[in-house]
Assembly symmetry: C2
Homo-oligomer: 208 residues x 2
């Protein structure tokens, strides 16, 4: 059983206020991640930057939750998956993906992947493509209040995906009892680079 | 064709010196990522930390490569995939995995995944599991000087993977011309949580 925490007394205004507080911090850390990978400054500058970073970390750790972020809900039922590795607005390692549901029920996300997502030189790590497609297909297969977890994911690499501006699309292909099948792809401006299909399962504990 | 850069005049000592310079910086940023997700300090503290982070970023950006890190080689042929999303010692978003080759030719990596890798509350994001297995299977299928890229990856989720101490294993299951098949799994202390199989292909340009 998973722990989905409802934060009592937290309204929509509070959620907006928390987001306005923490999202710019997260975006700053994303910039720092990119700079850390690409910097060519020498040891003295690196040491000075490291000291500044450690000071910031110490400041942030003055009050912190004991565990990972989890998924918290406001009193209104707004979901805050803010620590999520793919979509978390408080997770600097997340791109983060913003996923839109289109009129035909499919989902789409447009995003930019930089130096932090590299595998082959200048290209997206194949594992990152799999990671993002798992999430986007899972989103396509999900509905409000229904927990679905990935059963099997198959990813087919058509060609290398260049770093830069990309998008992902996914849709439900069929349903069969507690199983929902989804298909999708990752694409650059020239078309699909990676295709995926997956089956998502509503776990027994979530059906009860 | 991929750009693998050989850095002229860069010896083993230089590689060690560069690593000693940049690896502690990267580790500091990893701590900061964790603190950013978990912090509960208020707006004033967040603003102060953000200013410190932006100052560090600005310092690091005084000299930086124009593009992503790529894969650089020393004059001795040492590979430095330091920007890699899974194993990069200069990529704060990477766990980073350290992969050992065992006597039987299989590979194994022991690692800890924290708040930055979360999907379901308290558990590893299914996409992250796929990402790491793609890399570990690819490592098992690779040999020095042979470029292999993922053709198809299939990931089967047996149960949820808790955040914390984990390991991954992989080995070649068979080869067929330019195709190499590998299998592997992710496991916690109680055994496998996610299984994967993949076929890796040596691209035409790498065979010429």
């Amino acid at each position: 059983m998973l722990d989905y925490t409802r934060v009592e007394g937290l309204g929509a205004d509070d959620v907006a206020r928390l987001r306005a507080c923490y999202e710019p911090l997260t975006q700053s850390v994303r910039e720092l991640i990119d700079a850390t990978i690409r910097t060519e400054v020498g040891p003295d500058e690196v040491a000075a930057a490291t000291a500044q970073i450690d000071a910031a970390t110490q400041r942030l750790r003055r009050a912190q939750r004991e565990t990972s972020f989890g998924i918290q809900f406001s009193a209104d039922g707004d979901s805050m998956p803010w620590g999520n590795a793919v979509i978390g607005v408080r997770n600097p390692s997340a791109p983060p993906l913003v996923i839109r549901r289109l009129a035909d029920g499919s989902v789409r996300s447009d995003f930019v992947l930089g130096a932090a997502f590299e595998g082959p030189p200048g290209h997206v790590h194949g594992g990152v493509s799999a990671e993002l497609l798992d999430h986007v297909l899972g989103d396509a297969a999900s509905a409000p209040g229904v927990h679905r977890l990935t059963g099997t994911l198959t990813v087919r690499y058509l060609r290398l995906t260049p770093l830069g501006r990309l998008h992902a699309e996914a849709r439900i292909s069929r349903t069969d009892g507690v199983k929902t099948y989804a298909v999708g792809h990752l694409a650059d401006e020239h078309g699909p680079t990676v295709e995926a299909e997956a089956v998502f399962i509503e776990p027994r504990w979530a059906r009860q």
